[in-house]
């Protein structure tokens, strides 16, 4: 056996993905009884974009992790198909964000693959995260009950999406460079400030996300069981306190326990989501034959129910397994790193994406109280897609770093017989 690592062909996956996108858009093009050429054009553009993006990244960055990017491509393709079915205008915007996001992702990959832990810059990241979160309270307008959007000219963006990434980066730095419990104090205060700002801005989903990511990262970095349990206790107390203190938290819990009681008011969205999932059944109603119009926010937070309705529960379950594949690949990359910082950075991004998908999927199927948050890669939303793609870029960047280290090792030994 020779010691050369051959990367296996993933062309079959690319072909299947292209088939999926093209056939879905072909079906959408005759949906209303009239032929809509734009659907076909959109489908062709999206498939071509995915293929070009995949092979371009593969050419630019050796030892990139193929599977993470292929899974993400499938997720956003499903997302754009479903968004196009709901609103063509949104789908075009999402596609534009996808192109923009790819450029940003490439920059992130190049920065991450040749960087260390950013040292003192992390204090700046912390400050930046707090300023981003605080700015929403001052400058925001409310979308869907949460004050989390800022308008700049024609664009509106969600600062918390980017604060999330700054949070992961500073977490990785503090948890990898400190070891005395007291030296974590500034970092813990920072986390608490972030969460409080999010709860006050009524962005409960992101608050929950930051809490969960913090606990996961803290435990995996330090291995301190007692402090982690204490953290879970503080988190529980905080959750209970905000339940008592804020009416919007109370409402969320009430509509989770019995959405039918307030079917005409707050519980409407949950009930409609459940009805959609139920009417879809195992195999779905067929693409384009569901009723996403009946669900508020069907193209963003509630896209999972639309997918569940039109593609069926089996397809939705497969989608969840795709997220699992993403998580497992992320963990493999994290375990393969040299430095604790890199490992925590990748693991932080992976944990955050997985917790985020759990929070929103769990929310729409009424497993946990619903908190408005996007489904990574799938939901419509420029900030959300961009932030997911930056996290993808971080994961890929570290993967490339690992790969070039392994390559150096193999190159030194040459083609050796084993």
């Amino acid at each position: 056996m020779n010691s050369k690592i051959q990367s296996r062909s993933t062309a079959a996956v690319v072909v299947l993905q292209t088939l999926f996108t093209l056939s879905a858009f072909a079906l959408l093009s005759i949906r209303n009884g009239v032929f809509d050429p734009w659907a076909l054009i959109m489908g062709a553009c999206l498939s071509a974009f995915n293929v070009v993006q995949y092979y371009l990244l593969k050419k630019m960055f050796r030892s990139m992790d193929h599977f993470v990017i292929l899974v993400s491509q499938f997720l956003w393709s499903v997302g754009i198909v479903e968004i196009y079915r709901i609103s063509q205008r949104y789908a075009v915007r999402q596609a534009i964000f996808l192109v923009f996001g790819t450029a940003v992702m490439m920059i992130v990959i190049s920065v991450i693959k040749s960087s260390r832990d950013f040292g003192k810059l992390n204090w700046l990241f912390m400050g930046g995260a707090v300023i981003l979160l605080a700015s929403t309270l001052v400058l925001s307008r409310a979308i869907g009950g949460a004050r989390n959007w800022i308008n700049i000219g024609p664009f509106s963006f969600q600062p918390s999406e980017f604060a999330k990434i700054l949070f992961i980066m500073s977490s990785a730095y503090f948890l990898s460079t400190r070891d005395k419990p007291t030296s974590f104090i500034p970092y813990i205060i920072f986390t608490a400030v972030c969460v409080i700002l999010l709860v006050v801005a009524k962005e409960l989903g992101t608050g929950l996300l930051i809490c969960a990511t913090f606990l996961i990262l803290f435990y995996s970095a330090t291995g301190r069981k007692l402090l982690t349990i204490l953290g879970i206790g503080v988190f529980g107390a905080g959750a209970y306190g905000s339940y008592k203190l804020f009416s919007h938290v109370r409402t969320r819990v009430e509509i989770w326990r019995d959405p039918w009681a307030s079917y005409n008011a707050e519980g409407y969205q949950i009930v409609q989501g459940l009805l959609a999932l139920a009417s879809g059944g195992l195999f779905g109603t067929g693409l384009g034959k569901g009723m996403p119009g009946a669900i508020p926010a069907s193209h963003t937070d509630y896209i999972f129910t639309v997918i569940g309705e039109e593609f069926g529960l089996i397809f939705a379950a497969i989608l969840i397994v795709f997220y699992l594949v993403f998580i497992v690949r992320g963990m493999i990359i994290a375990m393969n790193t040299d430095s604790i910082y890199d490992a925590l950075l990748v693991f932080g991004c992976t944990a955050m994406l997985s917790v985020q998908s759990f929070i929103i999927i769990g929310g729409v199927i009424k497993l946990i109280p619903l908190t408005g948050i996007t489904l990574p890669f799938v939901s419509y939303g420029g900030s959300s897609l961009l932030s997911s793609m930056i996290q993808l870029g971080i994961i890929e960047g570290i993967s490339i770093k690992n790969g070039s280290r392994d390559d150096r090792e193999l190159e030194m030994m040459g083609q050796i017989m084993i």
Partner: protein, 154 residues
Amino acid sequence: MLNSLYQVLAIGMKYWFIALAAAMLWLVISISGKEYRERKTVLSEVGNYIGYLEIVGGMEEEEGTRIGLARENTIGSGHNADIVVRDESIEKMHAHMAFDGNRLMFTPLTKKGTRINGRKAINSYPVRTGDIVQLGNVVFRIFLRPELEELYEQ
């Protein structure tokens, strides 16, 4: 007309989409599993080696072949040797190479047919990167990892 076509297709294609997604999932999982195992085997094997022997003369078709060196190896033409070199001029158990913590020691196990850098070798002798070892007619060049090579300087 187009509408009824759509109605039929939409029902039929839901199974197609599920099949596609399932096939893709299976492919991704199986390919990534295979690649992961292969990569791990190769890297852990290569990581265990402290260096390699490269055949530089005496066996024409094998020239350039690199053989990984573990911390301790026996070299010979017999089945029991760790590194088997099939050549008539080499004894069944010809030599022993072991890393003693600081240096890689080369010990001939036979009285004749062993040379280190052109000189006849009978006793144990430390070898390092670039040294040429000859067993019978076969000539090897030694490569040691640079980080182990540094131990020689101390």
